[in-house]
Structure formats: structure tokens, C-alpha cells
């Protein structure tokens, strides 16, 4: 059977634009943060269990893989937070104009990037 000639999904035929890239990234960062809850649960359960269990999590988080994951989640968290606030404004019916959506999009990129860098640097500084 030959597949029917159906229209393709927008993401396959349109040139990527800021609005569509941020929309997809919101989803992707949400899924990434959901996966991150596994680590959060491990961290809390280890803290409730024993010194050894907690030392194991802290060792993993301090390894290069752990730090890389934390850096990724740091960016995902602040992006999802900032873009989520942008979505809440849309839900209230505000900011739908093309120019405004573009400006708020770049604001989200800049604000979340800056917050993530500052937060991660602060974490590294506290850790010493």
C-alpha cells in the first residue's frame, strides 16, 4: 500500500522562527525537567536514608556527568519558568501582536540565559 499524500506537519515544512523554536523548546524543557524529578527524588530519599546514601548522590552530582546534567537542568528550569510566564500572559489575552511576541521571546531568551548562568555560577561558588 502506498502511503497517502497527506499534508506534512508545520515543523517539517516551515522555516524555524523564534516563536516556533521557543514553543517547541518549552515542551522539550518541560520533558527534561520531568526526567530531572528522578534525580530530585533520589536526592531527597538519600537525604532521608543515611550519610552513605547521601554521600553517593552528592558524589554523582559533583562528577562531570552530574555537573553537566545540573547545568542542562539549570537552563531548562529558568527557560521553562520565563517562557511559562510568557504563556500565562498569553492565557490572559495579552501580548499576541507579532512584534510583542517577538520582543517577549527574545526577552525570555536573554533573561533565562542570564538567570541560568548566575544560578549555576552561584552554586559552584557556594560549593567552593
Amino acid at each position: 500500500m502506498t502511503p497517502a499524500e497527506r499534508p506534512l506537519s508545520p515543523f517539517l515544512i516551515y522555516k524555524p522562527q523564534l516563536t516556533s523554536v521557543l514553543s517547541f523548546s518549552h515542551r522539550a524543557s518541560g520533558v527534561a525537567l520531568s526526567l530531572g524529578t528522578l534525580l530530585l527524588a533520589w536526592w531527597l530519599i538519600a537525604a532521608a536514608t543515611s550519610d552513605d546514601a547521601f554521600a553517593a548522590v552528592q558524589w554523582f552530582l559533583g562528577s562531570w556527568l552530574g555537573l553537566l546534567l545540573l547545568l542542562g537542568w539549570c537552563f531548562a528550569f529558568f527557560f521553562h519558568l520565563c517562557n511559562g510566564i510568557r504563556h500565562l500572559f498569553w492565557d490572559a489575552g495579552l501580548g499576541f501582536e507579532l512584534g510583542t511576541a517577538q520582543t517577549s521571546g527574545w526577552t525570555v531568551v536573554a533573561a533565562s540565559g542570564a538567570l541560568a548562568v548566575v544560578a549555576f555560577a552561584a552554586g559552584l561558588w557556594v560549593r567552593g
Binding site: 518541560g30 527524588a41 532521608a48 550519610d51 547521601f54 554521600a55 511559562g84 504563556h87 500565562l88 560549593r127
Partner: protein, 129 residues
């Protein structure tokens, strides 16, 4: 002339369309999102302050009732928001009916299990230590 009505009176009263659900999902996702703005920022700031800390520091942090209460609220809001979001992702990208159902059930069970485990851990530290 009155507009012809194709829906039954009961259908109109319940107000649900072919999706078999109303706006509860949408609202729940927004309400949990608003809660998570504050709870998430507080939790992120707490984690930064605890970077590289030993277990005693985490226990001392959660021994404070306010921290324990906020942590439990954060866990409930985060796992609820995450399950609602993952549900939409599964609905959009998993097409075969049995696979959609099994992914959805697994996602909900894992979310619930992690939420309970995390909450229990916080309470154990807060009350027992």
C-alpha cells in the same frame, strides 16, 4: 427563528465536547504553574545554598517547619504539573491506542510514586531526622 440545537439538553448541561473533558486540565496546569513560579524559585535558591553540602546541612534545612511545608507543596505542585504536561505530550506524539494507554498509565504511576517518595523523605527528615 431560534438557532437549531443539535446537542441534547443533557449534553449541553454537562458542557463537554467530543474530547470528553472540559477545561479542568487547562486550568489545573495554569494554577500549578502559578504556584510553581514562587515555589520553584524558592526551591532553586535553597538548592544553590545547599550546593555541595553534607547530609547534616540538608537535615537542618528541612527541620525548619516552613522549609518542610514549602518543600512538600513544591513536590505536589511540580509532580502534578509535570504529569499534566507529559499527558499532553503523550497525547500528541503517541498514536497507537494501546501504546498511548500503557505510556499514560506508566507515566501516572511513576509520577505518583515519585511524588509520594519525595514527600515521605521530606516528612521523615522534618519529623524524625
Amino acid at each position: 427563528m431560534a438557532e437549531p440545537r443539535l446537542r441534547s439538553p443533557l449534553g449541553r448541561a454537562i458542557g463537554l465536547g467530543s474530547a470528553k473533558e472540559g477545561v479542568e486540565h487547562w486550568w489545573a496546569q495554569r494554577v500549578s504553574a502559578v504556584a510553581l513560579i514562587l515555589l520553584g524559585l524558592w526551591f532553586a535558591a535553597s538548592l544553590i545554598a545547599l550546593a555541595g553540602a553534607d547530609r547534616a546541612a540538608v537535615v537542618a534545612w528541612l527541620h525548619h517547619p516552613l522549609a518542610a511545608i514549602l518543600a512538600v507543596l513544591m513536590l505536589i505542585a511540580a509532580f502534578y504539573h509535570s504529569a499534566l504536561g507529559l499527558q499532553v505530550v503523550i497525547e500528541d506524539y503517541v498514536h497507537s491506542e494501546w501504546r498511548k494507554l500503557s505510556t499514560m498509565v506508566a507515566m501516572r504511576l511513576i509520577s505518583m510514586a515519585l511524588a509520594v517518595a519525595g514527600t515521605f523523605a521530606v516528612l521523615r527528615i522534618a519529623i524524625g531526622g
